[in-house]
Amino acid sequence: MATKKLRRAKLSQELCERLSRYQITTCQDFLCLSLLELMKVTGESYRNVQKLLRKVSLACAPKMQTAYEMKVRRSINPSAAFLPTSLHSLDKVLHGGIPCGSLTELTSPPGCGKTQFCITMSVLATLPVSMGGLDGAVIYIDTESAFSAERLIEIAGNRFPTYFDSDEKLFCMTRSIHLYRELTCDSVLKRIKSLEEEIISKKIKLIIIDSVASVVRKEFDTKLQGNLAERSNFLARGASLLKYVAEEFSIPVILTNQITTSLSNGLAIPADLVSPAHDLSLSEVTGASGSGKKESACVTAALGNTWSHSVNTRLILQYHDLLTRQIVIAKSPVAPFSTFFYTVEKSGLVLQVIHS
């Protein structure tokens, strides 16, 4: 929208030529100038410049819709608003499942089950709508080479044995999962830019990026000067591209993230500004990932504050004890804080009920 040429904004031909002599060709260039500069550049009076500004703004501004129209559109096709995760209690609290049209982030220490969750969601997306799926293909961008096709078939066969009763059905499902191995930030960004066309041509209904953190943290060492700004820039650009694609096609996007420790000696983040969504040590962590006492180091989701603002839903996976783990809904526009326990089995993630 910003790069729209002024010709298409219905300005007169001679005005466009005059502006191009000053290197003003897109709406972005036009709107970034102050009124006095515009007067000088267009040679028009104050009132006329204001009229021109309004004309160019009309070409760029978004369309208005009332909240009621949005609701009506949603209710016409309710199943298209969520992708159920098949973990029923989780789906109930999330008002349906992973929301379509926004970014969902999965954060956890290593080995908790992020990739397992992503593989399960890929299977679910290919299922027909009657079974709670989206009946479409999946794009899986793998930066850690952690995707295992055998595990995919195992989960599908064990979770939905009645549906995947023949090899033919299994192969059909695997054909609709498009796996891309990207190992650098640049290639990930290029892949994200190419998503729009792929979604239309391959009828994609789910995008998974596993994981954003590993490729970003490999390349940007935040201790070096300037890297922090560049990293935020890359993440913000990626996030806005993904948001655009998610909203435009109304599909869910799942991203995975890692954990980082911020040491409290020296660089202390005051406890009152770090939310429980970030400070995982606030929920009692015993067993596998801690000795049961609160450590002075504070464990947070990686990739920084700006990234936390960009994602709309955040699910945190943690260790509870040797076998069970827990999912915490840390940030969601529709659900309150909730915790669910699960184990990882042959059929993927299975919710457990813990009686304490």
């Binding site: 703004s57 501004a61 978004p62 949603r74 983040i269 504050n305 804080f337």
Partner: protein, 360 residues
């Protein structure tokens, strides 16, 4: 009348010609007349007439200003201002503690900024305000409509519908308790459908769309004169990436702030902005501060910062011309479907409505 020709809002080429021909004051221009002007400078009669009309309008505006009439600059006594402020409505947030520290609620004609860490409840408050601004006057509201400009994509229609339903229910309970004629009459038009139809939603994907939308906002507000609230959810998001030229960003933000102040005053509406928090590295500690820099801090009249204290959400009034700094706890509750509980923000005691913590 003695206004200098160089200061008139004519096109630069025309101004240059007038100055070259030796004209110095507006008076001279008006005396010459369109025919004389066109012959002397070498422009067509129509152009000369247009220029003179602009000059006449400007001079009339100037004269009105010096005579103390209404122009683009207002002049009034503090007493008149006091009377105006006292009759002005507030947009209540349904959290009495929050309304108290704000001095009654979100004020009209002022810019309020809400900063906070991710997930703390900024969008929830904005959706709440977009519903609360529509409460009819007999229930204590301002009976206005709302414009919601979304840059982050976090507006959820279902959640807004939940909030609206709870608000209608709350008003119904009040009407049942008081049994007054105008309450029941107002309730007829105050329904979920009407509330959602009066929230005008714009989704801006980058800063250019945001700038364009704010330029077009005065015209939109003139058409929809009942709008009393403009929410920009996420003023920081579009400005935080893709900006190599920080001075351009500061200039655009300042221009945006000025336009919003004009909109707030001219249309008697409240402007609510939400901002992100960013990390600032000090000598021995890193702090979270509101994003967009120090100069942006001057744009808003009232600044609220939402933060956490262990698991309790707190709101701090950080900057206000009339209220003192204070902090209150708040919670976000979820309504229970049978309609017994009201979906609103309550004070911290009695918060058993929250579904939180362990699932046992």
């Amino acid at each position: 009348m003695q206004r200098d020709v160089g200061s008139l809002p004519l096109s630069p080429a025309l101004r240059a010609r007038l100055l070259a021909a030796g004209f110095q004051t507006a008076q001279e221009l008006l005396e010459t007349g369109p025919c004389g002007l066109s012959k002397e400078i070498g422009i067509s009669r129509e152009e000369a007439l247009e220029a003179l009309q602009v000059v006449r309008q400007e001079c009339a505006g100037d004269a009105a200003k010096t005579a103390g009439g209404s122009g683009s600059t207002r002049k009034c006594t503090a007493l008149e201002l006091l009377e105006e402020e006292q009759t002005q409505g507030f947009i209540i947030t349904f959290c009495s503690a929050l309304d108290n520290i704000l001095g009654g609620g979100v004020q009209l004609t002022k810019i309020t900024e809400i900063c906070g860490a991710p997930g703390v409840g900024k969008t929830q408050l904005c959706m709440q305000l977009a519903v609360d601004v529509q409460i009819p006057e007999c229930f204590g509201g301002v009976a206005g409509e709302a414009v919601f400009i979304d840059t982050e994509g976090s507006f959820m229609v279902d959640r807004a519908a939940d909030i609206a339903t709870a608000c209608v229910r709350h008003c119904q309970l009040i009407a049942e308790a008081h049994q007054e004629e105008d309450h029941l009459q107002a309730l007829e038009t105050f329904s979920l459908e009407s509330i959602l139809s009066h929230i005008y939603y714009f989704r801006c994907r980058d800063y250019i769309e945001l700038l364009a939308q704010v330029y077009l906002l005065p015209d939109f507000l003139s058409e929809h004169s009942k709008v009393r609230l403009v929410v920009i959810d996420g003023i920081a998001f579009p400005f935080r990436h893709d900006f190599e030229d920080l001075s351009l960003r500061t200039r655009l933000l300042n221009g945006l702030a000025q336009q919003l102040i004009i909109i707030a005053n001219d249309h008697k509406s409240a402007v609510v902005l939400t901002n992100q928090m960013t990390t600032r590295f000090g000598q021995n500690q890193s702090m979270l501060v509101p994003a967009l820099g120090e100069s942006w801090g001057h744009a808003a009249t009232v600044r609220l910062i939402f933060h956490w204290d262990n698991t309790q959400r707190l709101a701090t009034l950080y900057k206000s011309p009339s209220q003192k700094e204070s902090t209150i706890p708040y919670n976000i509750t979820v309504s229970i479907p049978l309609g017994m509980e009201i979906q609103r923000w309550e004070q911290s005691f009695g918060s058993t409505e929250i579904v939180r913590g362990r699932q046992t």
